[in-house]
């Protein structure tokens, strides 16, 4: 699903954030990305979501070489990705329903279809009763679940999450991770950046460790 080959990212102000990173994440895999802050976790996710462009090397996602995706094709590429942020990034003026519907509205999906799919997504994260509420009226854990519903409502092939449990207590964090596992079980490739080692070690998934922009441990135990 994701192949990185000798990928480097240089920021003009901060210097090298990624140094010759090579990684492969298979279709349907669930993997954690960990390492101290500044190790390049967020940068890696941003490069995969094409929020940032890598400086050197090659990135192929779902068979597409990211260098070949220009400005015009970018929106259509992003429609295959669901993105989850630590700070939720919900639109506070809109209802929960409208927040979750956004990826569908943006893609020009019809009204009836939107209603069906938003309700299904909210149901999956256990917030169906909250659809008329505004995000500010929800707890932090609930807000994150709205963010997850929004990230899966358009049935992306790839879910990227940047510290999705950063602000949550352990119990809620585990709940959120279980949600990701559910989506993974139906075939969605999931890549989660997290520094919560306790939590991610308790789960039976691959852990990729970054340090100073390099892959310290690719989490693969295959003989190579």
């Amino acid at each position: 699903m994701i192949q990185l080959h000798q990928v480097s990212k240089v920021y003009p102000e901060r210097g090298e954030a990624l140094r010759q990173v090579s990684l492969q994440i298979d279709r349907g895999e669930m993997a954690f990305l960990t390492g101290p802050s500044g190790a390049g976790k967020s940068t890696l996710l941003k490069i995969i979501a094409l929020i940032e462009r890598h400086t050197r090397g090659q990135v192929v996602v779902d068979g597409k070489n990211l260098e070949r995706i220009g400005r015009r094709a970018l929106p259509y590429y992003r429609r295959h990705i669901g993105f989850i942020f630590q700070d939720h990034r919900l639109l506070t003026e809109r209802t929960v329903f409208d927040n979750v519907a956004l990826p569908l509205v943006v893609a020009g999906v019809g009204r009836g279809e939107i209603e069906r799919r938003v309700r299904a997504a909210l149901d999956k994260v256990g917030l169906l009763a909250m659809e008329r509420r505004h995000p500010r009226a929800l707890s932090s854990g609930e807000q994150q679940r709205v963010g997850i519903a929004r990230a899966v409502v358009h049935r992306p092939a790839l879910l990227l999450a940047d510290e999705p449990t950063g602000n949550l207590d352990p119990e809620l964090s585990l709940e959120i991770m279980r949600l990701f596992e559910q989506f993974n079980r139906v075939g969605v490739t999931v890549l989660i950046a997290s520094h919560d080692l306790m939590l991610i070690r308790s789960m039976p998934h691959r852990i990729i460790r970054l340090r100073d922009g390099r892959v310290e441990d690719s989490g693969r135990r295959e003989a190579s």
């Binding site: 979501a49 929020i51 400005r71 929106p75 259509y76 590429y77 992003r78 429609r79 993105f83 990034r89 639109l91 956004l102 990826p103 509205v105 943006v106 893609a107 020009g108 999906v109 019809g110 009204r111 929004r150 358009h154």
Partner: protein, 314 residues
């Protein structure tokens, strides 16, 4: 075949729906902030109605002038000693000259009678011992001449021994035309400047609107919104401001006509002209609404294209 047609129809429906949604939502936003919408539209409306009033008034004036008798003619005021017989003979002679279409004679007595009737100086005129007016021949060229041609004709006729003064009657209209041309050019200039002002006002208003919805734009882009999708509501908002402004400008023009029609009619009455302000005219109002709409759209377009490109997810 059937399938592709159905796909096309579905895509078309989705496109129309997206446009309708964008239009409704951006108009809704304008309506939800009525005061600021009204103020912005009023500023644009005033800016629009000024050049429109000038332009439409000039149009009317030109039309009124072109309605005047535009027949080119040269009036020949004959010398006092030229008798009526001689005047008739001269008229007959001129009639045979090349380039001359018709010659009519206004004899001194008829002219005095006319003057008496029109001026009302009956008693003063009665004191005159003899008619002070000369016989006049009005020469109309065979075909319409350009200014230099008519001037040549006038010079030639002025050279005749019987002629005291040869006057080209349309000179004043020519002068007025020249003044109108200046006024029209000035109006065009003012309109261009004010159109730029409208573009700037709309652009700035839309820029503020974009900045207020920055989060929405960032999230939209992250989840695959195309530039066109993001542009749409702001373009509709720009067009909406322009249209409201057009309506306001129409109302202002209507008020202006109401207030000015009386005095203008009085002035034109003194010049024995039927000239009236014709601002309230379906064509004028329609073109005002359309220019408002277009300027709003263009002003929004410039800002939106530039601004949306700057706002990217971080």
């Amino acid at each position: 075949m059937n399938r592709s047609r159905r796909d096309r129809r579905a895509r078309w429906t989705a496109w129309v729906t997206a446009h309708l949604q964008a239009a409704v939502s951006s108009l809704g936003q304008l309506v939800r902030a009525p005061l600021s919408t009204l103020i912005t539209s009023a500023v644009i409306g005033i800016t629009l109605c000024l050049p429109a009033a000038l332009y439409f008034a000039l149009e009317d004036l030109s039309r009124a002038l072109s309605g005047l008798d535009r027949e080119q003619s040269v009036s020949l005021y004959l010398r006092r000693e030229v008798t009526l017989e001689q005047a008739r003979a001269l008229a007959g002679h001129l009639q045979t000259q090349p380039g001359v279409g018709s010659v009519s004679l206004i004899d001194a007595d008829t002219a005095l009678e006319q003057f008496r009737r029109q001026s009302g100086y009956d008693q003063a005129l009665a004191l005159l011992e003899e008619n002070p007016l000369p016989h006049v021949l009005v020469v109309t060229p065979l075909q319409r001449l350009d200014p230099s041609g008519i001037e040549a004709l006038q010079k030639r006729l002025a050279g005749l021994p019987e002629v005291e003064l040869a006057q080209y009657d349309l000179l004043w209209i020519q002068r007025l035309d020249a003044i109108l041309a200046v006024a029209r050019r000035a109006t065009t200039l003012v309109s261009a400047l004010l159109a730029i002002a409208v573009l700037v006002i709309v652009g700035n208003t839309i820029r503020v609107a974009i900045d207020q919805r920055r989060d929405e734009i960032v999230i939209g882009k992250l989840f695959g919104a195309t530039d066109a999708f993001m542009r749409r509501p702001f373009l509709y908002a720009g067009a909406g401001y322009g249209l409201f402004a057009g309506v306001i400008a129409c109302i202002l023009l209507g008020l202006g006509e109401l207030l000015l029609q009386g005095p203008v009619t009085r002035v034109s009455g003194l010049y024995q002209s039927g000239f009236r302000l014709g601002w309230i005219d379906p064509g004028n109002l329609l073109s005002l609404l359309l220019s408002g709409l277009l300027l709003g759209l263009i002003g929004a377009w410039f800002t939106v294209v530039r601004r949306l490109r700057e706002i990217e997810p971080q």
